[in-house]
Subunit: 490 residues, 4 copies
Amino acid sequence: MTEKCGVVGIAFEDRNAARPLYYGLYALQHRGQESAGIVTHDGFQQHSHVEMGLVGDVFDEDDLESLNGSTGIGHVRYPTAGSVDSCCAQPFSVSFKSGSLGLSHNGNLVNAEEIRDELAGLGHAFTSDGDTEVIAHDLARNLLNEDLIRAVKRTMKRIHGSYSLTIMHDETVMGVRDPQGNRPLCIGELDNGYIIASESAAIDTLDGELVRDVRPGELVVLSEDGSGFDSYQLVEGESTAHCFFEHVYFARPDSRIDGKLVYEARRNLGRKLWEENGVETDVVMPVPDSGRAFASGYADAADETTATGEPRAEDDTGVEFAEGLMKNRYVGRTFIMPTQDERERAVRLKLNPITSTVEGKTVTLIDDSIVRGTTSTQLVSLLKDCGAAEVHLRIGAPPIVAPCYMGIDMATREELIASDKTIPEIEDVIGADSLAYLSPESVAEALGALRSDLCMGCVTGEYPYDIEGEPTDREVTRPAIGGQTIQADD
Amino acid sequence: MTEKCGVVGIAFEDRNAARPLYYGLYALQHRGQESAGIVTHDGFQQHSHVEMGLVGDVFDEDDLESLNGSTGIGHVRYPTAGSVDSCCAQPFSVSFKSGSLGLSHNGNLVNAEEIRDELAGLGHAFTSDGDTEVIAHDLARNLLNEDLIRAVKRTMKRIHGSYSLTIMHDETVMGVRDPQGNRPLCIGELDNGYIIASESAAIDTLDGELVRDVRPGELVVLSEDGSGFDSYQLVEGESTAHCFFEHVYFARPDSRIDGKLVYEARRNLGRKLWEENGVETDVVMPVPDSGRAFASGYADAADETTATGEPRAEDDTGVEFAEGLMKNRYVGRTFIMPTQDERERAVRLKLNPITSTVEGKTVTLIDDSIVRGTTSTQLVSLLKDCGAAEVHLRIGAPPIVAPCYMGIDMATREELIASDKTIPEIEDVIGADSLAYLSPESVAEALGALRSDLCMGCVTGEYPYDIEGEPTDREVTRPAIGGQTIQADD
Amino acid sequence: MTEKCGVVGIAFEDRNAARPLYYGLYALQHRGQESAGIVTHDGFQQHSHVEMGLVGDVFDEDDLESLNGSTGIGHVRYPTAGSVDSCCAQPFSVSFKSGSLGLSHNGNLVNAEEIRDELAGLGHAFTSDGDTEVIAHDLARNLLNEDLIRAVKRTMKRIHGSYSLTIMHDETVMGVRDPQGNRPLCIGELDNGYIIASESAAIDTLDGELVRDVRPGELVVLSEDGSGFDSYQLVEGESTAHCFFEHVYFARPDSRIDGKLVYEARRNLGRKLWEENGVETDVVMPVPDSGRAFASGYADAADETTATGEPRAEDDTGVEFAEGLMKNRYVGRTFIMPTQDERERAVRLKLNPITSTVEGKTVTLIDDSIVRGTTSTQLVSLLKDCGAAEVHLRIGAPPIVAPCYMGIDMATREELIASDKTIPEIEDVIGADSLAYLSPESVAEALGALRSDLCMGCVTGEYPYDIEGEPTDREVTRPAIGGQTIQADD
Amino acid sequence: MTEKCGVVGIAFEDRNAARPLYYGLYALQHRGQESAGIVTHDGFQQHSHVEMGLVGDVFDEDDLESLNGSTGIGHVRYPTAGSVDSCCAQPFSVSFKSGSLGLSHNGNLVNAEEIRDELAGLGHAFTSDGDTEVIAHDLARNLLNEDLIRAVKRTMKRIHGSYSLTIMHDETVMGVRDPQGNRPLCIGELDNGYIIASESAAIDTLDGELVRDVRPGELVVLSEDGSGFDSYQLVEGESTAHCFFEHVYFARPDSRIDGKLVYEARRNLGRKLWEENGVETDVVMPVPDSGRAFASGYADAADETTATGEPRAEDDTGVEFAEGLMKNRYVGRTFIMPTQDERERAVRLKLNPITSTVEGKTVTLIDDSIVRGTTSTQLVSLLKDCGAAEVHLRIGAPPIVAPCYMGIDMATREELIASDKTIPEIEDVIGADSLAYLSPESVAEALGALRSDLCMGCVTGEYPYDIEGEPTDREVTRPAIGGQTIQADD
């Protein structure tokens, strides 16, 4: 699994693509803190620097100096339990018959094992368990006999699942997005070049202009001299399966994904939440920082109509929006965990209530999602200890009931509080006076998308891809895997 | 100078005071990131662990284990240019004739050199340049001939300037605040003990109750068994000189300082700012995170009255409050600086505009203060580049025109943009369509304090203490320093 | 190039092969200080820990714990300029169709590029430049269609050059030595298992018994339960090409290589040196520690006969053997280099003369070899500064005139002082009163070997393998590389 | 206790005394590996860099750059159990009324507690437990009223015990040696300055000339411009108490201490050992590296006479000297200890026998001393396992029966194998076929010293200083401590 990650690729007029790649990765740091890497090509050879750690720790001035070249790709990797291992840090590089390949991958293939076995049958030897090495070997093999575009197309037809890739073949940088457009990927124009990145915030950071999203099934090839890009629609998807959770939680609020500004999407989700499940309380407060945009939209909507949808009376000042929980910005770094009986402290080290906002008041607490429910339980208890009369919890997404197979490592099904509990049961566990989520339909509406164009596997348990042991939510038209074999001489 | 720092002291029923001290320091981390330290006493001897770095990096489980004792003090130190030196990390410990002393100091003495010279004349040898060592030596000398309370009193009469101290004499933990109460210090009750800390957020973190602020000129002595505390009003100040800047910038919003919740103080300052200098624009946005509470109060006030103080008409929806700048939470750690011509990038790596909030709109940007003016200039330029029609800057404090001698290392007078410029001139430099600050009078009103009870040296250039070469803002009654000498046998 | 390295492989009765592998690598640390690694197999899967650094720094207790398995291989890698890169740290691991492979390699192939190109033509993609990956891929490919023994044999017929390998195929550990036996490799019996290692000192360290050297062209397969080993003479070499320099410099003196104890070999070389080129001086002193065994043999021989080969007269006490240079054991770790004009200091930080041994005396200084001549020049100058009347330099090997292509990274031809200078010219540069080397014939005699059974490429410029642009010293019978192609389906 | 340490002080013509101090400390690294430090003075202020670790790790180029000044002192500290603490790293620096002081100390005071208590009574506060801070405070106090020379003299009269000090008062560098000259200290002339150092090897490293030892009771003051030095014989000792163990074990063999080259001293001790307790065996071998010089002298003597003191017969070739144990140069760094049943391995990782030297032979093993006896036991057992017919152990010093109070941390009395066992009993424990030590009288003879001029407390249990609970070996004339008090105004 290649988890939630950030990818970037750049073609630049001058020789130092490494610096914009570095700043681009910095802007994507929220997509992965486990490892960071950059691979560049100077026309003759690849240069690579990949290490465990944050972007700021992995690279120093000398590293950037040594990464010669006007083109390059980069990657930040998301930390997941059990995989803290340098073997899977990316970009992944190989050299093969007709040159070198570098790959940065965000997503998750569902048929990696099949392809791996077929390639192994042809003699391929693998140094890691990763999907990325499988894609690299498949592509390298195709390149033995075909030109670049046809080789990428053949590989795209072979691999199934979600993938946003930046690829460097010798000095040529490309971007590829899976036919259903599950993970984000966009194109930007810089002063002296072009960039492909997971999120538009990376383009902004470099003072560039967002050109557009990479289309599902599209291959984008940057000119080596940074002067433009070519597009090849290699696979036509019948429908898209954009991950709605990117908008809810993962992407930066200042990024624009599939035509939608994430911050606005979150405010819309908040508005919908009021309309669907608003509750009149003294104060509305976000869980910082994740619930802030939701709470802002929720409060705005609440200023206009009452919880029952009536326009506010003239003298009805509506609900008050206030910050009621203060975040300690230093928590999340190294930290000695409190002992069992100091457990409540853990949450209070992170978030401390502002008494004046809470004491004696009825409170609506807004967050983006509930995974295990631990933090929500602690926060409700904390607010009540500080004198909140009531605590109502409103969530800007549907209950998460199933795992994500598309590259976001949430939790196992057993750990998800909503996987086997009704909403009243969750309410009970968490101790909230009321709890409400947003419906999938409202999510689609808030995102201005068709319900069927979104991947909502984690909240419906039905997936846009064939996952072994899981139902699918659509008819996916794709070539039968069994019918297409790789041949050594083809 | 002992800079902006955080201090804490704890007396606990059980043997492990080190853990609550650790969590207390974690809660005060914003007051100092240069070094961290804890000194405990187990009834027989001191244990000490002081190192350069963040709290989470300085201590591991073994360190906390080794810090035996039911009482102890801690310190976090603020980083200042040129002083990155382990010599001044605190708590400072010495052993002397009748036991051991540990000191944590927040503040700055104005007569440290004089006392140092006198003590040197009596044979004292110093290992550092710090004020803290001077206080320690003076107190140790007084303890040769006097009981603890009288010795502390004698030292308090000798030292002039700002100081909030936690002191450990053998296993007894004390807190002392200077007669004008310049730096904050408060007392809290824990489940099994008592705590003295710079800010009440440290008490909250330990699930304790804020008892009250330590009074100016007061000595608080914690019972060694954690069962209570005694108070000694050792020096009567004629007036206080609370630092108003703690409320504006330095303290955590969730702390309660001198009876006032910082978050509310900031909202009040924001309200006053609207009333004094409001401007009607499409949108009001904070500089995150420093301007958020100010902007929230400002926008609330603007919902009620127009910029000219009239009540809003029925159909006048007032100003819109919105987040328009998104912060990259990872910046501020290790980071390769952009080159000269990438300079604009530096600000955009930290803060990225949300286009939909900005484009084509008139914008009011709210911040707490302007020091050098660099960031403000970059932000205004950034917003205009993103299409803002107008950018108006509103600041929740008066112009900073002079240095702080009381322990906050702002900048030299030359670096302060307001030290030699009129407001129109600053407006011009920064490129804002308009710029307005808050008046000192409104600050006092917003804080619910007498103007004369606040230290406003940095915005008036007049100080509550005799600073060589600076005017004073009041008559300070205090014993003449020259007249009181320390005698070896007295 | 796989440089001077140390390899080890172990099959053990109990589950923890990692500990004896660790101690074995510790004993081979002199063969490589750049990186260290261990790969084990627990019957189900491989466990691997490979890092840059010394054995003692690379592994901690937890690492050894996690390296489960009763079989495993290990590697230490020699540092060479420009290759300080984790990409080439070993053992190298891959998984392929029918299992996993781990390889530790000491030596250097001469046809790696050819094989690499052929494999690339079949679709193989490579993650490094190393010979070892080439061997791994070739072997993995052969294993698709053949049993282990036949696959290894096919690979041995393909690869040319010097190699001593330990290989782990799934949980089976093997040792392979090239048909000319260039690098050392030996078999040992332990209390609970068997070991294959570069040098017998690794066996001694584990209190094991040296069984014998691995024969040139032999494959040794250890039983997985540690109960024994099988031998397969896969390739018959026509002659051997043992590296004579292992005996002169590289191996530990307490190792037994190809039947010869290295310490005795060095003493014999010293004796020959006296017989061939002895000079009567007041004192004979070694360059510590490299020249000690040579000097001891030289002095012993000098006690028996005069420099002209006559028996000593009764009252002739012969030459005095003495330590005249003291080594600072701490040099060689981190160290700030002296500036240009402090250059002489560099040698004196490492080696300081004992004046009483030197002053006013004629001195013979004994070393094992001269590479660039820099140290020799400094030492002669140092001894003269300390009052030596004469300094005669005697070297226990012939002049090094050409590079090593077999895996020892000495220097480029241009850097070798003897590559373009006569002995009197070198004498002149170094400033010695006389200089003499040992002849190749005497080396062979001292090692009890046929001249033709030794690789002496670096002192003759003629090599036992076809090196492009270099003459060969023999007729090497081997299958034509061009004639044997790898076929995907063969 | 200030343990076994190395001290150095330099006055230099040019501004960069830090570099020669660094190289000097490198040469003294064997005297202390726990911490290293340099303090310099640039005419205006002190610069200091002191850290835990080896010299090469503690300083980098930037550190040396920042240590401005033409004068300075340095220190390396010996690691001892329980004191791994930065508090005691040296040089120790203080500023006081009339300037600054820096001290580097090698030795141990016997009356530090008394002086400490007196100073504390006068108001002094201490930051550490160390002797060095006591000396610094006493000297600083004396300097209030007296010139430098008289102040040092007064301090020397106060402190009792062993001390070799380098002191920096402002920019003046001095060296002081206790009246009995227990620890070594010598003066050297450099190209552009003068140096005071624990051992002459530091002078050699800087290409300087040894001028002479600092005399017991002497103060040496270096001219600030590096042009010379002045001598003040401040205290006349009645007799000396040079530590004989410096010659036996601690000093470098290439150092000259109290007029005697250590290497020659050790060879003489070896000769005496043969004469006193020689035994005829096939081979004489040193424990490397500690026994090498002893074994060389022993074997030389054995070439001349038989064990019974007769001249050798013509055809009697005497004993053979050979290296029989090979040292692994990498052991001693980080290292995972073998488990209980791998215990024998620990010694074999360090020292491996050369079978040909040992097998079937009678062996004499030579070492400098036996402390706990553990290593000797392991070595005898190891040699017997390798086939030695007999192993005879000869030690170049008397049995160590008592602790050292003068600054060498050997072991507690209980741990010393000879403290409660006869020689036959030790022989039995160690498993040697015979064991013999050297007598104290022979040690004195070998060192060319009067028995009464040496401190032999550790082998006699009688000390040259009054140690509480231990007998003294002489009448020490010194001012009564009780009778001389420090007065604040004196």
